[in-house]
Point group: C2
Chain length 149, copies 2
């Protein structure tokens, strides 16, 4: 199955998720591990679409998510920087998910320069990550308060 | 907001719904009213995408669905036949939603020729409509049992 780039953008606008986990971790100097992740979850009947996404991006894995749900997932910082982020810069999302993508990109780029290993960097990442994947009321207040982003 | 046709196909693969309601109705000779409906539901923060879909297709309405959800909806048989069905014939869905679309198209075309007004026609429509928008197990059994569709 070949996927058109605009089809992918539309499908990810509906079904994709840009998420950054920030978890306490005693082995890391900053005290936190930063785990960015791009995922698309589908019912197992549509697993072929997830494999087509993997083939298109040339990275990531297709794994069972939970129950009858499968997930296409990219966690590697290098793959996110080389494949995923440039794709969505070239083919912008149309829904408010673009705001999540912008925050996601900002965090992954901070990781690229090693800022996530510093106390100040990880605090900034935690602040940005908290603003992702939230409801409309929160987004409205973010937009009014953070128009510089 | 201008929408690319492939973006729309991808977005509808994720978020769209082709549904046919078949409701008992005493005023209709066949005993049932057949109500086909194409909908895309989004959180109200993305209502501008629904308006862009409406502008692209040149038909339908954007209304509140429930709570903070808005819906783009096309119910007119004429608009479905003229705008919605030809679009998804030209830009095929990639997920198993194409099977719902194929059943939806079949029913709307039966309505075009008036078959939904006959007892035999409405029985056939009820049978097809029952196979729509269901889980994977049901779809698997449909596929093995109804390969002529």
């Amino acid at each position: 199955m070949n996927l058109d780039s605009q089809w992918i953008a539309g499908f990810v606008d509906g079904e994709g998720c840009f998420h950054v986990g920030v978890n306490p971790h005693s082995d890391v100097e900053s005290g936190y591990q930063v785990l960015p992740e791009f995922t698309v979850v589908q019912h197992e009947r549509d697993v072929q679409v997830l494999h087509a996404l993997k083939a298109h991006f040339g990275c990531g894995v297709v794994r069972r998510n939970y129950g009858d749900r499968m997930a296409y997932r990219v966690r590697s910082k290098e793959h996110l920087l080389k494949h995923i982020i440039p794709f969505f810069e070239k083919h912008p999302l149309k829904t408010r998910k673009y705001a999540d993508f912008a925050k996601f990109r900002r965090i992954v780029r901070m990781m690229e320069t090693g800022e996530h290993l510093t106390q100040a960097g990880v605090e900034e990442i935690r602040r940005v990550a908290r603003q992702m994947n939230r409801g409309a009321d929160k987004i409205k207040s973010d937009l009014s308060g953070n128009s510089q982003e």
